[in-house]
């Protein structure tokens, strides 16, 4: 069989494993296309010369922004790919034992990456082109013009840009995989699933006061932001208060997740009625070790989510307010809204995929544990319940703290928005929050379904 046909068979066979990878790349491509095709959407509208010019201006800004966004996407693709490879190390080890040359394994891998990349790129572009038609209507509304005739909007430039940037990302993935494979020793591949990382623990007596300190830092940062207010930050000397608040908030967030794992398990394990019930002991242990090992990335995800939430809600409200305040500033307001939403969604996708991939690799590492639990008599319902609780906690913890942060940010920015126009920022934020929850929830569900499949597959 040629490497190509083996690759096709593999992709087909492990299509579900590729799910998260596919979804992430596809969404990335669609988003990338939509925001880079804004210029071409003017065909649908009877826009003033002025508005067309400003759309062109937005496109130039998008050009710069896109490099940044492409870098984030490339990182995500590499991250998702690393997960896939880790899951398949054993299979590759077996290929080698069976006497397959590394070159041939590499070519199978290259083809697989290429195929999945091509497929997600194509689907992502199709979704992007479809959604950009709706986006044109939104743009028209923002400029306050009515759509007079429907014309199919298509941007060849945006398409080429997608192909270029994502093609480059796939190339990076292919290179990474080939180099990685050639560095691997056969023994490591075969025993890839036998690792037990032990990280030193923060003692109980230290973690409780540390947690209190982190809570105090966060509350103080909130207070600082709320009392200074948006006007205060713009005034002389306000910047130092803002800087202090940001530093305190960031450090507080990291400390929060760092100290959390030190005592939460200890506390729950005191409540025998909960701890000694069903698989709770197992679930809590798993969560504990995961939170403990991944506190840094969790804090990071929390901060990114905070940025995403506030960028989207503040950005949209602010631009609406500016538009109401002065029609002449329309172009500027649209630019602000677009960029805020764009960056916000990119951050959101990044967070959701990072969480999803981390949880899936966890679930796949846990397969042998689930198999044992099942032999000991844990029912399928118990097993999926345990998987659900683990993933839920993992998704909700960073989101909850990020939501608290965002509430403070929205409150402060709300003053500015309300000063400019009679607009309730909380109403806009609520809609944003709902949309975010829907999206985030979708990622959560998809992760849970895959993880459950792994937990029950024996």
């Amino acid at each position: 069989m040629s490497a190509f046909s083996v690759a096709i068979r593999n992709v087909r066979k492990s299509f579900k494993d590729y799910g998260i990878y596919f979804l992430t790349v596809m969404l990335g491509v669609a988003l990338f296309y939509i925001f880079n095709s804004i210029g071409s959407q003017s065909v649908m509208m009877d826009l003033s010369q002025n508005a067309v010019m400003s759309l062109m201006g937005i496109e130039t800004i998008m050009d710069y922004l896109s490099v940044f966004v492409a870098a984030i996407m490339a990182f995500l693709i590499l991250y998702a790919n690393a997960f896939l490879i880790r899951r398949r190390k054993k299979e590759m080890g077996l290929y080698m034992v069976l006497g397959m040359k590394k070159f041939r394994i590499s070519s199978i891998l290259v083809w697989e990456t290429f195929l999945v990349g091509l497929l997600s790129l194509a689907v992502g572009l199709a979704v992007g082109i479809f959604l950009s038609q709706g986006m044109a209507l939104v743009t028209a509304r923002m400029f306050g013009v009515s759509v007079t005739r429907f014309a199919f909007a298509f941007s060849a430039a945006a398409l080429l840009k997608c192909v270029r940037y994502f093609g480059l990302s796939f190339l990076a993935v292919i290179l990474f995989n080939v180099v990685n494979l050639n560095r691997q020793r056969l023994l490591d591949l075969l025993h890839a699933d036998r690792k037990t990382a032990r990280v030193a623990r923060l003692p109980f007596w230290a973690s409780v006061p540390l947690f209190a300190v982190s809570a105090a830092m966060l509350l103080y940062a909130y207070r600082l932001v709320l009392t200074t207010g948006i006007a205060g930050f713009i005034l002389e000397g306000g910047q130092s208060a803002l800087t202090r608040a940001v530093l305190l908030g960031t450090a507080g967030t990291f400390l929060f997740f760092f100290s959390l794992s030190g005592f939460s398990l200890k506390l729950v394990s005191r409540v025998k009625g909960v701890y000694f019930k069903n698989l709770n002991m197992f679930t809590l242990k798993q969560l504990d070790s995961k939170f403990h090992a991944a506190w840094a990335s969790m804090s990071f995800v929390c901060l990114m989510l905070f940025l995403a939430l506030s960028a989207i809600s503040v950005g949209t409200s602010l631009s609406m307010a500016i538009r109401e305040y002065s029609a002449a500033e329309t172009a500027a307001s649209v630019a602000v809204a677009y960029m805020a939403t764009y960056i916000g969604i990119v951050f959101l996708i990044s967070c959701a995929s990072v969480l999803a991939i981390a949880q899936l690799s966890e679930a796949s590492d846990n397969q042998s544990r689930y198999a044992l639990l099942s032999k000991l008599g844990a029912s399928p319902k118990m097993l999926s319940g345990s998987a659900l609780r683990q993933i839920l906690a993992y998704f909700v913890a960073p989101l909850a703290l990020a939501a608290a942060h965002s509430l403070v940010a929205v409150k402060v920015m709300g003053a500015l928005v309300e000063a400019l126009a009679s607009l309730n920022i909380f109403a806009t934020s609520l809609v944003t929050g709902g949309a975010v929850a829907l999206f985030y929830g979708g990622y959560f569900l998809m992760t849970y379904r895959s993880a459950r499949r792994m937990a029950l597959r024996q």
Binding site: G273, F276, M281, K285, R369, K375, L376, G377, A378, M382
Partner: protein, 252 residues
């Protein structure tokens, strides 16, 4: 006494389309309450397959397996899980303890899966740990225990729920002779003092000599069986060696 386990005309066929393996070819036997039964036979004779069918990990092709008058071949999903955690205890060759949990938690887990009242979990887990002499390692993780300790913790986990039948597949396989002896003494203790019923697969005539009765399997059939009766362990050991010689040199 009444039979806890009844195996009748058990058949297991692996594969299909050309390459068919008859791993079990009509096996019938009974195990009574409080018996310690060993299963011996050459490599590939079907011992693990037999144990896996009885333990409901694998499904039989034909025949019936009744444990305390329940036909386990028809159980599925939640009822199968219920049956496993209430009626069966497992001891595996490679211990199979959860590495993220302490010995105590590993033992307690079997109780929580069986939905025992949380209030009695701690007392019961400690009680059984003491019976198997592992109360000193209860706070240790598997990586910090010796092989013998791990296997005795696994044995404690297997009997903590008072199962009708304990199934062990080469439990001494990974142990040195001293730890193996300690484990076998523990099994003996489980049978005589705690009224457990054990079915144990082994290659090793020394381990087998601790049993009350040995079933010898050849090519998926019951070849013969040997009952200890009034013999001492040494005499029984010699008889096992004799049968193994008849079975063929490769029986061990």
């Amino acid at each position: 006494m009444e039979a806890i386990l009844q195996v009748r005309d058990l058949e297991k066929v692996y594969g299909g389309r050309g390459s068919v393996t008859r791993a079990l070819n009509g096996v019938s036997f009974d195990v009574r309450q409080g018996e310690y039964v060993g299963v011996m036979g050459a490599s590939g004779s079907g011992k693990t397959t037999l144990l896996n069918c009885i333990s409901t990990i694998d499904s039989a092709t034909a025949g019936s397996i009744r444990i305390e008058n329940t036909d386990v071949t028809s159980l599925k999903g939640g009822r199968l899980a219920d049956f496993r955690c209430h009626k069966l205890g497992f001891i595996f060759q490679d211990y199979n303890l959860l590495d993220t949990m302490t010995a105590f938690e590993n033992i307690a887990l079997a109780l929580t899966i069986a939905k025992r009242p949380p209030g009695e979990v701690e007392r019961r887990a400690r009680e059984v740990a003491a019976q198997l002499g592992v109360e000193d390692v209860l706070d240790k993780h598997p990586a910090q225990m010796s092989g013998g300790q791990r296997q005795r913790v696994a044995a404690a986990r297997a009997i903590v729920t008072d199962p009708a039948l304990v199934l062990a597949d080469e439990p001494t396989g990974a142990l040195d002779s001293k730890s193996a002896r300690a484990l076998l003494e523990s099994f003996r203790h489980m049978v005589t003092e705690l009224r457990s019923t054990i079915l144990m697969v082994t290659h090793d005539p020394f381990s087998a000599s601790y049993c009350d009765r040995i079933l010898f399997i050849r090519d998926g059939r019951l070849f013969t069986e040997l009952t200890r009766g009034a013999d001492g362990r040494k005499a029984f050991f010699d008889k096992i060696i004799e049968v193994m010689a008849v079975l063929g040199g490769e029986a061990a």
